[in-house]
Symmetry: C3
Subunit: 325 residues, 3 copies
Amino acid sequence: MTKETSKKKNGTQEGRIWAHKDLLALKDLSAREIELILDTAESFKEVSQRSIKKVPALRGKTIVNLFFEPSTRTRTSFELAAKRLSADTINISKSTSAAVKGESLLDTAKNIEAMNVDAIIIRHEAAGAPKILADAIAPAVINAGDGAHEHPTQGLLDLLTIRQKKGRIQGLEVGIVGDILHSRVARSDIWGLTKLGAKVTVCGPPPLIPAGIEEMGVKVTYDLSEIIRRVDVLITLRIQLERQKGSYFPSIREYARFFGIDNEKLQGAKPDILIMHPGPINRGVELSPDIADGKYSVILEQVANGVAARMAVLYLIVGAQSEEE
Amino acid sequence: MTKETSKKKNGTQEGRIWAHKDLLALKDLSAREIELILDTAESFKEVSQRSIKKVPALRGKTIVNLFFEPSTRTRTSFELAAKRLSADTINISKSTSAAVKGESLLDTAKNIEAMNVDAIIIRHEAAGAPKILADAIAPAVINAGDGAHEHPTQGLLDLLTIRQKKGRIQGLEVGIVGDILHSRVARSDIWGLTKLGAKVTVCGPPPLIPAGIEEMGVKVTYDLSEIIRRVDVLITLRIQLERQKGSYFPSIREYARFFGIDNEKLQGAKPDILIMHPGPINRGVELSPDIADGKYSVILEQVANGVAARMAVLYLIVGAQSEEE
Amino acid sequence: MTKETSKKKNGTQEGRIWAHKDLLALKDLSAREIELILDTAESFKEVSQRSIKKVPALRGKTIVNLFFEPSTRTRTSFELAAKRLSADTINISKSTSAAVKGESLLDTAKNIEAMNVDAIIIRHEAAGAPKILADAIAPAVINAGDGAHEHPTQGLLDLLTIRQKKGRIQGLEVGIVGDILHSRVARSDIWGLTKLGAKVTVCGPPPLIPAGIEEMGVKVTYDLSEIIRRVDVLITLRIQLERQKGSYFPSIREYARFFGIDNEKLQGAKPDILIMHPGPINRGVELSPDIADGKYSVILEQVANGVAARMAVLYLIVGAQSEEE
């Protein structure tokens, strides 16, 4: 609790510098820092493919998953990443937490901090919740998705997947299709992609494209066929009915008709287009089943890269601290 | 994901062969394969009785418990088995999983596979769900109970318990009493016992004995007193009211009166009869309390053997893979 | 299961003796035994502040958290304590347990015992539940809170915190304010403090002070200002609305007005008074926010000491057993 909340740390790759206590948003990172994470992730990808999938980098560290929204893949991915680095993990979900007794988020976090943990991975429905924690406590805070703000490790795994498949990010044309308004994935993807030099176009039903999104450095189109002909990568977003408070489009069926990707709509696409999705997929809505499982899809590579990207983040944030001390 | 889904593996005992990627059903195994698991389990029983209850056999392996139905003993037993083999374990239960977001079972499994896990232990209300997974993904799939189909590790721990207490399975008379119709335990017990040469008789209220059960190689009786006089082992099944959709018997009280085992009904039984139950017991229904806790009961030995049997299964399926690579 | 349920064990500090299989209540311990735990906890405090927060003391031991009531801090604190001692941990909560199938507590415990676990940490709404288990099973049973009876590790961490801050317990004046009637924390604190020689006064609305509490060796007052002027330590209790069946006080607002601690009420207190609270705090009820976070508050030290106290308990109970064998 007495540690300073911001400290300089050394990354391990070629003397490049990792200088953040927390990972809250890709908006906060430089291109060089994002590339450091991606390079570190590359070196960890191999660990998950070994027979003995474990390195001792974070032995004796304690990492807490504090999830206020349900999640299989993100929580499991972080938990696996931590375990493959030999850290101890503790899971706290909303239903079992003191939240049911009315405790404030900050009190919960300060209590976890008092137990001398090294990192708290938080998912919360309120945008900005991870930042509030990060400013208040000494352990590293890693944002696993906060409202419609950011989901930075999803952005990182998307970048990692694109870089592996295309050999570069710089200069690529990337389309992001769907509910841009409510999507933290879209925000993290946009920040990461534009920082690394990709040209991003967002596309969706007009009510789901936020006004002023162009200020993030992206183009906007409402015409799916236009971007399909042009892009190297098409990131489709999950329609999250559970997060929509108003009625932004007439029906799922109509959404699928105009924005769902199927073989017919992919006529005219580049022959090496990548189709991505953060999952879980609503089959027949965002993607037809043959596209979800087809040759353009790299959805399962995204999942595999998620573990590697999270190992890299935990290693750079929690591990570097250890080397200093 | 590119591994073939069926592979030859070597067991470790006397050159005998373990040749399955998955454990879905005792129906699929030969007597020799079942005996290999039982022999391996014997050697693991001792580990759980040590002061340091841990061997490094599966260090660096990742084992996922994917439970779509609530369970204390089976989930805990598998988790302990995995940890005593030094594997990393991840628990995913229905309430926390993406199932609440409507993701298909297969998409959930393919996502878990993409994280490079070594085995998925699945419990599911639908018979056949583990088989669907096993055919679709590379990691080992272990059935922890699927609908009214099979619960193979329960069958194995029952066989292990009988073999330890009686010195053999071959030639024993075994009665299975209760709701045969809905019982995956009964099916796994019948396959395992008959393959190893026991003579099995099932007994219960007529509506709870499935038509054609004789084709599994068992006899049928509706007269409890007849088999009690004859059997070496009496396996009582749990009345699972939560799984019964119709009204198969008039009342719990009537069931207990005709099929509940108590001291009076055990008059005329062999003096060394074994009374078994997969738990959790409905005391006063399937068994009177004095029988559940009495000299014939081996119910807690069954629980202890469950950890050993599951260690054996995980070791043969996940560990042998490791030795090959 | 065949081990005797009560055994002599050696503590590790200066030949002092730890002689209990279980930790059920501070009422059961001598002053010397409590001090042994506190001294052991001191030596473990340092482990949680290391970069590698782990010692191998309980490697290969299995510790089960069996929680029938929701809890963040206590469950997490025990889980961390066990992991920092290198034990394997299994979490069983009410919602996932066989309790939903109607199994008795004793059958659940006997099943867990049959899996050869070393300790069961139990929280239960019924006072006395841990004692029933402890008498019935061989593994160590550690009470993590039972109804309104005791919460001994909370008492120990409170003692540890007071001893660290004040250098002693003997002769201190300690006030306990709030709902004494329903508080297991108050009972454990009273037993621990009085055994170590502190003078305890309880204070609260008359309906929340149990008749005959003076027999525990404490004084009673209904006048908060009187004890505030006198005490070295003021332990405030959580108002647990969820546990109150009748209407013992008119309203939260009125409680806060008369018994909530704020700067105004602390006028006249000793300049080095300690303000404690077991958490989670109802801010603005038991404590004003500036007091909760202010210079007198040692609430987060209590949390940190909770891990150390629980490591000590697990080490003395589970570890000493290991050394014998």
